[in-house]
Amino acid sequence: MSKPADPWHDFKSLTAARIALGRAGGSLPTRELLDFGLSQARARDAVLAPFDAHSLIEQLNSAGLDTISLNSDASSREEYLRRPDLGRRLNSQSRDELASLNSPSRDLCLIISDGLSSHAAVHAGEVVTALTSLLKDEGWSIAPVVIIPFARVAIQDEVGEGLKSAISLILLGERPGLGSPDSLGAYFVYGPGPGRTDADRNCISNIRPSGLPPAAAVMALHYLLNAARHRRISGISLKDERLLSDQVDLASLDMQTPAATDTFRD
């Protein structure tokens, strides 16, 4: 493993892109080949690893938060990947269960799913604990935290409606990038229910320690949720006005990103 990086390796400080890798002939040096393989292995593992809902529930319970466990209509990882429509709705048993709760009206419900990265869901506990603590101090009424494996974003409509919540927030693992296998996304909608589209949702993505740190995501969500509650809206007309004054990582706010990523919203 002796092939050096390219002579312009000092440019590496300018970008996280894999530049100045060096070459063997014109091909990748062995070290770089293996590094890439390692990154992809981690991203694949994040997609395929089982969701440790049990630890997450313990973490939430010990922080004083009640939880409800429900299931989507996707029953396996493969089905979840092939059939996004099944991940957008509850299975019939969970639908009945939700109805039987006869939930009182609330300001907010929170849902956590592994989504496309089980490793990302680990950050959800931290975000939910800190966020609910802030909101409760301000008088928000909050439903028990709902845990749903194999869910897609739009399941927040059915769950939010069932829990009679003004706002429905879901945190779930995003499609893992090579350098970001543990990236969490947060999406909320005001007035969850049938007919809501992606244009009605707000999103904060790339929540992970080396992306948008969970604590910063909590502040962004706290701001946006209060604005949504106050103005009774969500979606494209609700912007994070703090951008002008605060240091918020532009790239981690989905409303700033191009249409290219929208296809992969969930």
Binding site: P7, K12, L14, A20, R23, R82, G177, L178
Partner: protein
């Protein structure tokens, strides 16, 4: 509507219309299964192919699979069809078209001559009864060139887009990736960045950044910021030096509407870019990206399979005489193309259909991490597309796009393909590479020292 049927040894398969025949004849893929259009078993798939093989090409002109009155892409396809170009193949069935395409006598000249006589539906249909090797062989005979500041698509050449994306559009970060690509002999297709933030100010800033580099080093290539077409239009109104206008396009009016575009808007953008007269050797000013599954994803697939719809997008592309078109084949995810096998097949279909229709086709050979695919699958598709004569591929540093979070092909990968198949860069760009000591006559990369003028 005409229904179709085929009987194997006493078992009869009935297909209610041509869209159903096309969908069920398609090689298996998750997107058609998701749409509920796919064959339910392999025997039904083969029955649909037997039916398709006997369908006269004329049928596709008589019976549009998406109605003329409800879809402007259908209207474009019908209204621009050339009966004169169609004449040599007018009497053929789909099965006979396959044989005509494979015939020794069918060369680039003949293929070019019939291109305007072929519709996307005819080309999609024939692709469904072709093996991968057929798709490769016919495409390899079909040269489609385009020009702006260099000549792309010539036989024996492979161009590379430098895709220097950065999660916050940081100019220094983008420039670093561009220089890295240039030192690896890439960038002849375009230096094209996907902006993280799609607004006019940012787009102008990035166009100027790339334009300045091209000008300072007199690189015979073109720049592109892959913003929405409306953003590029506004940038041009403000005097920005736009080389190429980019847009994602699809095969139905509804899907294009979901992208915020229609044909009129594309024409307006093309006119604006042409008026700038920035090309030196040609005036192909459009850059389009496509991909199977985009219509279904937009809820606008009109009951048609994703591969046929993808071919319809090439009719849209063709009309605007683009410099570059590429399918972003594996980007859309496993619910449309599940694994490496499906991605490889789709990449070959897309390249074949576009080339035969006369579109200067490249490919973003790519996948996401939730697909059952890896870099070995990309090596396979890349190699096959090289043999098929693909106009250009992507060059992403280390194959890892840190903004769009997917894996494509790298500068190193492009060099592998040029080495193994003896493919040269675009001629004007090759000369620049030789003159600047980046590559030698034998297509070998030369050591670029830290003191090289590019790196100052």
């Amino acid at each position: 509507m005409t229904s179709y049927c085929h009987t194997f040894g006493g078992r009869t398969f009935v297909f209610e219309d041509m869209a159903t025949v096309l969908a069920k004849a398609s090689p298996r893929r998750s997107g058609d299964e998701l749409a509920g259009l796919a064959a339910t078993c392999d025997e039904e798939r083969m029955a649909a192919r037997f039916v398709l093989a006997d369908v006269p090409l004329q049928t596709f002109l008589n019976e549009p699979i998406i109605p003329y009155d409800s879809d402007e892409v259908t209207r474009l396809i019908c209204d621009t069809h050339s009966p004169a170009a169609f004449e040599p193949i007018r009497s053929l069935t789909v099965g006979e078209l396959r044989e005509w395409l494979l015939d020794y006598e069918t060369d680039t000249i003949r293929l070019t001559a019939v291109a305007q006589g072929l519709t996307p539906e005819m080309v999609a249909a024939v692709s469904k009864i072709m093996r991968n090797q057929d798709l490769i062989l016919v495409a390899s005979k079909c040269q489609v060139t385009s020009k702006f500041r260099n000549t792309l698509g010539l036989s024996g050449r492979l161009a590379v887009r430098i895709q220097p994306n950065h999660p916050t559009d940081d100019p220094a970060g983008i420039a670093a990736s561009i220089l890295d690509g240039l030192c690896y002999a890439c960038g002849d297709a375009v230096i094209g960045v996907n902006p993280a933030t799609d607004n006019v100010d940012n787009t102008i800033r990035l166009i100027q950044l790339i334009g300045d580099l091209i000008e300072r080093f007199a690189i015979p290539t073109q720049s592109c910021v892959l913003a929405h077409v409306t953003t590029s239009l506004r940038a041009m109104e403000r005097g920005a030096p736009v080389d190429l206008v980019f847009q994602s396009i699809a095969g139905t009016e509804g899907a294009n509407k979901s992208f915020g575009i229609d044909l009129k808007l594309l024409a307006e953008a093309q006119d604006a870019a042409l008026a700038l007269r920035r090309g030196t050797v040609g005036d192909n000013v459009m850059y389009f990206e496509t991909g199977q599954g985009s219509c279904l994803s937009a809820g606008a697939n009109c009951g048609v399979d994703q591969q046929t719809l993808e071919a319809r997008a090439y009719a849209v592309a063709r009309y605007f005489r683009p410099l570059l078109v590429n399918s972003v084949v594996g980007f859309i995810g496993p619910e449309y193309l599940y694994d490496g096998k499906q991605i490889i097949r789709a990449g070959l279909e897309d390249h074949f259909c576009a080339k035969v229709l006369g579109v200067p086709m490249g490919c973003d050979v790519c996948y996401t991490n939730h697909s059952e695919a890896d870099q070995d699958d990309m090596d396979t598709l890349l190699s096959l597309l090289g043999i098929a004569g693909c106009n250009f591929i992507m060059g992403v540093p280390g194959a890892d796009d840190i903004m769009l979070n997917y894996q494509s092909t790298s500068f190193h990968d492009s060099h592998y393909l040029r080495q193994t198949l003896g493919l040269r860069p675009a001629p004007e760009f090759e000369e620049w590479l030789l003159r600047n000591g980046i590559m030698d006559e034998q297509l070998r990369l030369k050591p670029v020292s830290r003191g090289h003028r590019l790196l100052q």
